[in-house]
């Protein structure tokens, strides 16, 4: 039997898990809940592995496989189908989603144990995984949009998971509203596409687009900008990045799964999936690169100044997705997807390890109140170190090196790349090293400032995912070795069946080694610098912080370049101001008036239901007269 026919089961397992948990969850034992919640993802992961092996050994024609489950309905030719689409791009995505999700679920079984709402958590998580799988497997825009909104909804629900605290509810609303701005652009873009091509099928649209549109046509520029709007919102890129740090209000596994590994990279997926359109609009593609570059720098500096462990990681996520956007912008499609995969491994690992640390510290998030955890939590420390190494891109031994280096090289050497793009990325890489090792040293070295009451290292379910993800963060890079040596590139070869290969300027490969060397130097320099500042001579960083310039910089970066304050001034304050000077706003009158009007009409008609039979009869008689008059006078 053809394995690909079973593709529908991949999203079906999480859906089934969600349904079981939602319907019968309240009656289930917590152990059963954990089994169902994790098991459903596990089954999908195994199935994905099986399908993946098949895909590699016996690939379908043209490396693409479309499974039409059914046509939703067919009324006079309008027939949206429920169809899944598997190609190397979606295969990579479902592989990452199912496996990383599985380990995060496993971790959560222990992490969330003492929480009320255990069922609710796993139900939402399963629903999220289902939506995310639908998003990446969708064959048409309708289904893709369904998944897109589904993940947004789950993100909202999970950020506000501890809904009793008002701050969490605020963070959830903020995430929802900010991404909604992007979603609005996104859906308008989809409408434009449907209007132009009269089909919802993504592949049909991509095939027809180069025929219908010439490069740089106004329509394609608009469509790509609008789609980019959606991507920027979901992936927390400039200027819609402000929601992600606040989204850390959710439980840590949620941050690991949704706000690091999977959902926030949906924007990357969207642009990669519609790369044909972006190739037709070079100006917009350049915009993607610039957005990526600015985001990675701004977020990197912000991460430098944070105290909250999870917020550091959040800014770091924004920054790393900035690298992916940079790669997309310079036409290094495969490099972006490669970095997505590696990033999913090490960032999930970092979040999970951070979760363990926070758990040990009794919900303490401030890294300056931790310290000295290296000895007490060896597994956490070593895995966190591996993740940090990958994030900082320590040469040769970590996967992050291979993926980030590829992006830096492509930013320099690709036909769309330039020295300035490379330089920005290079500076970003240095900052990355600084904040990463600042985090490592402050958290794990120095004196222990707080006793550990309950050491999560005893929880096997929490430690196994850490170890597995750490291993992946190391060996994951070996499937794509640089041009300079070995030139072993199975990953991008696999992806070139769907994504175009990166076009390099001539005679660039020789310079790669130089660039790598430079990167290696700054990485080690960065590590040394942060070791100096936070372990060897802590006074150094403290004295700098005490200068007025230092404090100003710190505050500025700490508040995320004041974007929140800026938006507050730009959008929120004026609106609040207007609402204050004009509490009975005229626009309000329209909406409220509409509501009132309806209520009024309701009350009016409700009076006619007086219970008097003879009144009812009179109405019938009037109705008959009315009919007569219509016939006679029209």
């Amino acid at each position: 039997m053809d394995v690909f026919h079973l593709l529908w089961l991949v999203p079906a397992f999480p859906l089934a898990g969600f349904l079981i948990l939602a319907l019968f969850g309240l009656r289930l034992h917590s152990r059963a809940i954990a089994w169902i919640g994790t098991g459903s993802i596990g089954l999908s992961a195994i199935l994905t592995l099986w399908i993946g092996v098949h895909f590699l050994t016996q690939p379908p024609a043209n490396y693409q496989y479309s499974l039409t489950l059914w046509t939703w309905f067919d009324i006079n030719g309008f027939a949206p189908g429920i169809a899944l689409y598997l190609d190397p791009l979606s295969l990579v995505y479902i592989f990452v989603i199912t496996f990383v999700s599985f380990f995060i679920h496993l971790y959560s079984t222990a992490f969330m144990r003492s929480n009320e709402g255990y069922v609710r958590f796993f139900a939402y998580m399963n629903l999220f995984v289902f939506s995310m799988l639908v998003l990446v497997l969708a064959n048409n825009l309708l289904l893709l949009y369904l998944g897109w909104e589904g993940v947004g909804l789950c993100s909202f629900l999970l950020i506000g998971f501890w809904y009793r605290d008002e701050v969490n509810g605020y963070a959830a609303r903020k995430a929802f509203i900010v991404t909604r701005i992007g979603d609005t652009a996104f859906i308008i873009g989809l409408f434009l596409l449907v209007k132009q091509f009269h089909t919802l099928n993504i592949q049909d649209i991509l095939q027809q687009a180069p025929v219908v549109w010439s490069a740089g046509a106004t329509a394609v520029v608009w469509v790509t900008i609008l789609l980019l709007g959606g991507a920027v919102g979901k992936s927390a890129q400039l200027p819609l990045q402000t929601w992600l740090p606040d989204a850390m209000a959710g439980p840590t596994p949620v941050s690991a799964l949704i706000h690091a590994a999977t959902m926030v990279t949906a924007g990357v997926y969207l642009i990669a999936r519609t790369h044909v359109l972006y190739s037709l609009a070079p100006a917009v593609q350049l915009l993607v690169a610039i957005i990526g570059l600015l985001t990675l720098l701004i977020a990197g500096f912000s991460a430098l100044a944070q105290h909250d462990l999870k917020r550091i990681l959040a800014y770091s996520t924004i920054s790393q997705i900035g690298y992916m956007f940079l790669a997309l912008g310079v036409g290094a499609w495969t490099a972006a997807i490669f970095h997505f995969m590696i990033h999913a491994f090490f960032k999930a690992l970092l979040f999970l390890a951070a979760g363990a640390v926070i758990m040990a510290m009794e919900e303490e998030h401030d890294i300056f109140k931790m310290g000295g955890l290296r000895k007490k939590m060896p597994v956490t420390f070593w895995t966190f170190l591996v993740g940090s190494g990958a994030l900082a891109a320590i040469p040769l031994i970590t996967a992050g090196f291979y993926s980030k280096d590829l992006i830096l090289f492509d930013a320099f050497a690709s036909t769309q790349g330039s020295f300035w793009l490379w330089l920005g990325g290079f500076v970003g890489a240095f900052i990355t090293v600084l904040y990463t090792f600042r985090m490592v040293f402050v958290t794990f070295y120095g004196e222990q400032k707080k006793p550990i009451t309950h050491n999560p290292e005893e929880e096997k379910a929490m430690m196994i995912p850490l170890v597995v993800l750490a291993v992946l963060s190391v060996i994951g890079g070996w499937i794509e070795l640089p041009h300079a040596w070995a030139h072993f590139t199975p990953f991008s070869d696999f992806l070139t069946h769907v994504l175009p290969p990166t076009n390099l300027k001539p005679d660039m490969e020789s310079q790669e080694f130089m660039l790598q060397l430079l990167t290696a130097v700054i990485v080690f320099a960065g590590i040394y610098l942060s070791w100096l500042a936070y372990v060897k001579k802590p006074a150094l960083s403290a004295s700098w912080k005490n200068t007025s310039l230092g404090r100003a910089c710190h505050d500025f970066f700490y508040k995320g370049w004041m974007f929140d304050q800026l938006y507050d001034k730009l959008f929120v304050k004026p609106v609040v101001w207007i609402s204050r000077i004009d509490p009975h706003d005229f626009i309000d009158y329209i909406y409220e008036g509409f509501g009132r009007l309806n209520v009024l009409i309701h009350a009016g008609f409700s009076r006619t239901q007086s219970g008097y039979v003879r009144w009812y009869l009179l109405c019938i008689a009037i109705g008959i007269l009315f009919i007569f008059s219509l016939i006679l006078f029209v």
Partner: protein, 107 residues
């Protein structure tokens, strides 16, 4: 003898029908309402009689028989219900049947 035009023939059932309708609308006693309904139904029967004499068919008369039978059934059920109402409310005034209606608005 002059043959009466159809429109004039139809006047009688129409007037009967209106009398019945007015009766239903004006009377509050359910029994009188039932009687008024009978008048309306019989007016309809009369229309069919006129039709069957006009077109010289028996079909209309068959319909009248059915109308009569059904009217009897309706009245039988109706009277039984009225009896029940009378036992509960000690009145046969329809306007007293006020248990079922839209509640007044809250604020």
């Amino acid at each position: 003898m002059i043959s009466v035009p159809v429109s004039v023939q139809l006047l009688l059932p129409s007037v009967l029908f209106l009398i019945g309708l007015l009766g239903v609308l004006i009377r509050r006693n359910v029994i009188f309402m039932l009687m008024a309904m009978e008048i309306m139904l019989n007016a309809a029967g009369l229309v069919f009689i006129i039709g069957s004499s006009l077109w010289k068919q028996a079909d209309g008369q068959v319909m009248v028989i059915f109308i009569l039978a059904m009217a009897a059934a309706e009245v039988a059920v109706g009277l039984a219900l009225i009896l029940q109402v009378f036992q509960m409310h000690k009145t046969v005034d329809v306007d007293q049947l006020q248990e079922l209606k839209d509640e007044r608005e809250r604020g």
